[in-house]
Structure formats: structure tokens, C-alpha cells
Amino acid sequence: MVHPPVADIPPGSLPSGSVPQVDVPANGLPALAPLPPAVPRQGSVVGSAVTDAVVSGLLTGLLLLPLVGFRATESGSGPLGLTYRFGLVAVFAGIVAVLRLVLNLTVWRRGRKVKTSEGPSAFATLALKAAPALRPAFFSFAIAYPFLAILLSGGLSPSRYWVDLGIYVLTYVMLGWGLNIVVGLAGLLDLGYVAFYAVGAYTFALLSTSVPVNDFFAGHLGEGFWTAWSFWLCLPVSGILAAFWGVILGFPVLRLRGDYLAIVTLAFGEIIRLVLINWVSLTNGGAGISSIPPISFFGVPFNATDEGFAAKYGLDFDSMHRIIFLYFVILALAALTALVTIRLRQMPVGRAWEALREDEIACRSLGINTTLTKLTAFATGAMFGGFAGAFFAVRVRFVSPESFTFMESAVILAIVVLGGMGSQMGVAGAAILLIGGMEMLRNLSFLKADFLFGPDFDPSLYRMLIFGFAMVAVMVWRPRGLVSSRLPTIFLKERKAVSSALVKEGHG
């Protein structure tokens, strides 16, 4: 069996999406022999670029041919028919070929100096410099956001869309920060985080709609007490229950690491969702739980009666008051998550998490109780997931297992990883970018113009497609996430950012 030695394969010989590598050779191995110095001949460069473009165009065409070139179409109740879209395949193949040609002649040209950086990148240095100002700036903007929305959209009612969007994004910021404790700090890859979100949401939904609980409080503290106060009383319960489930699920999987842990947590997440679907007598199955009482201003309901929020504080009744209040509740919850994480990182348990992430064996030999450390990470992360779940239930006022699919876990994980694991501002930025960006895709109705894609084109269909693509692209481009340098929590004299190349796992 004769194989050519690894180092003799020219970098351009395998087409289709080869990505320029800077520090790690493509096979992850040190090069065995230095490549002969490339003699730049103009003709051969252009020639090989053209060949590469043609080959990659043909490959793209071949890849897309079966599923884009043909489409199995339903015609009423009859058997499936076929429609053909070879033109579309040719267009895509052409786009790929032209892109490759342009890139080969410019960015990926052989012999071009690729800059390698030893220390933190320029972006990271900038982020480090801006870091002290970033957090206050982010929070002041977050506080001012609903008022800005009202001012810029001209009135309470027109701003509804923007405030709703803010709530939606902040929910994911909070979930990202919660998962960040487990994945970013403790280095435990959790693919079932949505289970704790579900536990929180169902805890609140079941308690607030439960007749016996309502009757109990009606008998002792007056009619209507439970409707007004249920969210505020259930919020801690949701968090505690979610943390409890975090411990229950965390305990058996403590011996597992890495990929295995990820799959087991995924299985747990799916089990919880399947139980929610099938335990109809408790959860009402797939139909979900509706008519959850709305949020109150600490006991004062948001309605048009004399007892309502507007009448009590001398305002004109507007349904937007509740939405804006919801915005500040989730902002406060997210801030709480951030604050607790920052404080915990400076305490022994937080440092133990980070040590555990970097090296579990070293951790154990230093006498750190890894079981307890992992469990606290699981429980703390789960608790914030539970809080977010309760908030989700009170905002939407309807819960069903549909909301807690694996896709949701993947989105939250993507936020944490793309943001740069462990970096709080990175996670917030990724949440705003991903969730806001996906939401913005709904607004691309100009693409429906006749000269672009026609009225049948629905941009929102492509949201998850683009999302998946972005996940792969960011991983290939910046495997350490957007904020990838590392800032130590403790330091001797001077706090210095450390390049991600020097750390084993996440970000500090």
C-alpha cells in the first residue's frame, strides 16, 4: 500500500471550502518535511485557480443536484410528483465557482504572507481596553432601551414590537449567562439546558393555575391574592425546583466527561420533554397549559379597573405598561444572573469551577471536591434557567412542550459558544446578534419584490438554515468564539489578557 507522505499534498488539491489554516496544519500534525519553496508563476496561479473554481462549482452542483434539482411535490392526495429546478442548481454552482475564483486570486493566493499572532489579537486588546466601560454602557443602554423605543417609534403602542423584541433578546441573554456557568466556567457541556427552563416554566404554570393552591390562599389571605401574587411567590420556587432537578440530573452524570456528558444531558432534556407530552393528567400533554395569570406590579394588577396600576399611579390605562414592566423584570433577572456569576467567580467555588474546566485531574490532586464543584455548577446554572422559565411562562401566559425542544438548547449553547465561553459580554453580544438577527430576518419583506425572489419567497423559512450555517462558519473561523482571549480572575501584579492558544478549554 503506497500512500503519498502527508506533507506532499499541495494545499489546494482538495477543493470545496478549504479554509486557510494559520497555526495548525490541516491534519493537526506537524509537517514532516518543509514544502519546496513555491515558485510564483503567473500563468500557473491563474490556471490552478480556474481549475479549482471549476471543480468546486461542479462539486457544488453535484451536491445540490438530488435535493435542490428535484423536488418531490404533493398534488392533492395523489402520489408524489417531481418538479425540476436545474436552473437553481446551476446558479448556486456558478456563485460558488466565482467566489472560489475570486478568493483564490486574492485572499488565498499561495505565497501570500499570513499574519500569525502570538499574543492576544487586536480585537481582544481592544475588547480588554473597552471592558471597564462596556458593562456600564451595556446596562445603561438596556435600561434606556424601552424609553428610546417609545421616543423613536413615537408613542406607547407603536413601540410594542421593539419592547417585545428587547424582552425576547434579554431572555436569551439571561439563559446564555445561566448556561455560561455550566459550560463556560465549569467546562461541562450541557445539551439539555432547556430541561431546566421547562421545569421553571411548568412549575409556575402548574402552581399558578392550580385550584387547590388558589383556594388555600383565598381562604387565608383573601380572594384574588393568588392571581396577583403568584408570579412573585412562584419565582423562587421555580428556581429552587430547577436547581433541585439540576442536582438530580447532575449526580449520575458526574463521572462522564466531554461528549458523553453532552449526549446524556441531551437525553435527559428529551426525556423531560417526552414526559411533559405524555403525562397528560398533570401537564395537559401537547395542548399545553393556558390562561396563566399575568404579571402584577407587586400585587397591583395591570388592568383598567380602579384598583389597577394605571389608576393607582394616576396614569392613563395602556396595555403597554405591563410589557414595559416585563422588560424591566427580565432585565433585573438577567442582571442578577450576571452579578451572581461575577461574585461567584471571585469566591473559592468559582475558582474551583475554572480550575476544573482547565484540568480535572490536577484539580482532584489539589484536594478540590470535584463532585461538589460540578454539582454546584449544575445547580446554579439550572436555578437561573428555572427563573427564566418562570418568566417565560408569565410573559407568554401559555406553556407547551413545543417550546422546550432540543433546538432551544442548541440555540442557547450556540450563544454561549459563539460569544466566547466564559465571557459575559461576549455572551450578551452573541445573544443580541443571533436572536436579534434571526428576528430581523422576518423583516426582509423587500426580498419579496418581483425583481428579486418574487412574492412566494418567505425569508423567515431560512432563519434556522442561516443559523446553522452561522454556527459552522463561526466555529471554523473563530473556534474560541467572538471574544476569545482570556482574562484571569486572580492575578499577581497586573491583569494581562492571555491568548486563547495558551489555554486548554474555555475562557477565563
Binding site: H3, I9, S16, L32, T73, R255, Y260, A414, M475
Partner: protein, 305 residues
């Protein structure tokens, strides 16, 4: 007894499909130590390619011989799925080899989302039904009015699976590619130093895994007669469970695990509750990983400093 026998037949059929997918997981894990999260969606893509091919052969070319259609569909699905998997490895995983541990896993999750949504956009979100291809059944035994049947399609699935596994076993044990694969599995750097083309070997591992998943996809399409863009996730997780149960990295283990998972699932549905059959499969995954992490036929993992 009759019910048990019938479920045994159904379970073995389902288990063959899981086993074929599980091989892809176990091979990739063995050689580069990553869970190829997109493998379940590669399986779903292959079922769609099979669907298109069957439609093309029946409606456009007017073929009527079922066996010829199946044979051509199998080959076409294996070739195109292998190509898809090769491209995925090239684009999404190879640049991340040597990066930190979670990077390829997350890239794979992204790829899984990308594939299922690509199929949704390209082929539409609705179930794609096919008319039953091999409707005949064969009555094995009859007692008290209960017939135990063995459908011809079940026979086809078992025969095709067994044949392919035999061929695959020969490939891994006797050919130079198989030797290179096993060498890379043991020590990638050493294999490279000895002249094994590591990149090519890894690419071919992905292609072979995808080709076996494509067989599973066509068999799934023929067995159930319907496919949907979301059908990759659950069979994918179950096949991964099978790989773990059999001992990840072990090829006979993957097949054994697949058969066991298929049997457990059908027997659970028959005797306990059909609603919780997925819960049963996922619970097996959890229990195996906790109490028997090396699986039935795998070697225990030694932690090195």
C-alpha cells in the same frame, strides 16, 4: 408467545436500521474521537435522496421491477450521501481538528441544524409518502387466530444489512484501507509517520459511514413508506445509544447495540406503553453511560495525565 415472536421480527428489522447508522457513529468516534452529531441528519438526507431516486425511476423512467428500483436507489443514495458526508467533513470538521475539544462537536450541531433546515427549505415541511413498495407478507405461523407475519420488506432489510455488514467487515479487516483505518485509530501521528495518508483515511471513514447510513435511509423509506425533514434526530440519537451500548469504537458492538435497541424499543411498545418508547431508549443511553461506560464490547477508557 405469538406476540413476542412478532415483536422479535419487528425489533430485529428496526435494529438492523439502527445498527447500520450506529456504525457511522462508532467509526468516526474511534478514529477522531468526536461525536458526529450530524450523522442522524445525514441518514435523513439519504432517505430523501432515495425518495427522489425512486420517484425518478418510477414516474419518469417508468420502471416497474421493484428489485431493480431498490438496487439502483441504494447505489445512488450511497454515492450521493457519501459525497455529502465527505463535503461535511472537509468543510466543517477538518479545519477544527486539533482545536479544542468542544469545537468540532458544536460545528457538528450546527451542521445538523443546517442539514435538516436545508431539506425543509428544499423539499418542503410536509411528510413525503410513497406507495407501499413491497406489500407482500409471509405467514410464519398461526395459532388461535393470531398470525405471525414476516413481511418481504423485512426479509429484504435483514438480508441487505447482513450482506453489507459482511462486506464491510471484510473491508475493515482485510484491505489496506481497513488497516490504515485501524492504524489511525490507534495512533494518528505514528500512522502518518509510517506513510498512511491520514486525511484521506479519515475522509473515507466518513464516506463509508455515510454510505451505510444511506442504506439505512433507503431501508427506512421502504419500511415506513414516509419520510420527513425532522426524521433524522430521533433515529440519530437512538443509533448513538446503540453505539454506546455496544461499546463506542467497537464495530460488532455497534451492530449488537443496534439490534438490542431495536428489540427493546419494540418489546417496550408491545408490553408497556408506546408513548414512552423513546423515553425507554434514552433511559438506556443514560443508564449505560453511567453504569457501563465502556459498553458491552468496548474497551475501558484509561485516563492519562
Amino acid at each position: 408467545m405469538e406476540v413476542f415472536l412478532q415483536q422479535l421480527i419487528n425489533g430485529l428489522t428496526l435494529g438492523s436500521i439502527y445498527g447500520l447508522i450506529a456504525i457511522g457513529y462508532t467509526m468516526v468516534f474511534g478514529i477522531i474521537g468526536m461525536v458526529n452529531f450530524a450523522h442522524g441528519d445525514v441518514f435523513m438526507v439519504s432517505a430523501f435522496i432515495g425518495l427522489i431516486c425512486v420517484l425518478l425511476l418510477t414516474t419518469v423512467l417508468g420502471m416497474s421491477s421493484i428489485f431493480l428500483i431498490l438496487a439502483i436507489t441504494l447505489v445512488v443514495a450511497m454515492v450521493f450521501t457519501g459525497l455529502v458526508s465527505w463535503a461535511i467533513e472537509r468543510v466543517a470538521y477538518r479545519p477544527l481538528r486539533g482545536s479544542f475539544r468542544l469545537a468540532p462537536m458544536i460545528s457538528a450541531i450546527g451542521m445538523s441544524i443546517l442539514l435538516s433546515n436545508f431539506v425543509q427549505v428544499a423539499q418542503g415541511p410536509r411528510n413525503k409518502p410513497l406507495p407501499p413498495m413491497v406489500p407482500d407478507v409471509f405467514v410464519v405461523m398461526e395459532r388461535n387466530g393470531y398470525e405471525v407475519t414476516l413481511a418481504y420488506k423485512q426479509i429484504i432489510i435483514m438480508v441487505v444489512t447482513a450482506t453489507l455488514l459482511a462486506g464491510f467487515w471484510w473491508l475493515v479487516q482485510k484491505t489496506s484501507l481497513g488497516r490504515a483505518q485501524r492504524a489511525c485509530e490507534q495512533d494518528r501521528k505514528m500512522a502518518a509517520l509510517l506513510g498512511v495518508n491520514v486525511d484521506l483515511t479519515i475522509s473515507l471513514t466518513f464516506v463509508i459511514g455515510a454510505a451505510l447510513a444511506a442504506v439505512a435511509g433507503v431501508m427506512y423509506l421502504m419500511y415506513y413508506g414516509v419520510v420527513n425533514f425532522a426524521d433524522g434526530f430521533v433515529p440519530g440519537v437512538k443509533a448513538f445509544t446503540a453505539a454506546v451500548l455496544g461499546g463506542i469504537g467497537s464495530l460488532p458492538g455497534a451492530v449488537l447495540g443496534g439490534l438490542l435497541i431495536g428489540l427493546i424499543e419494540t418489546l417496550w411498545s408491545a408490553y408497556f406503553s408506546i408513548e414512552y418508547k423513546d423515553v425507554a431508549a434514552f433511559s438506556i443511553l443514560v443508564v449505560t453511560l453511567i453504569f457501563l461506560p465502556q459498553g458491552l464490547l468496548g474497551r475501558p477508557e484509561v485516563e492519562k495525565v
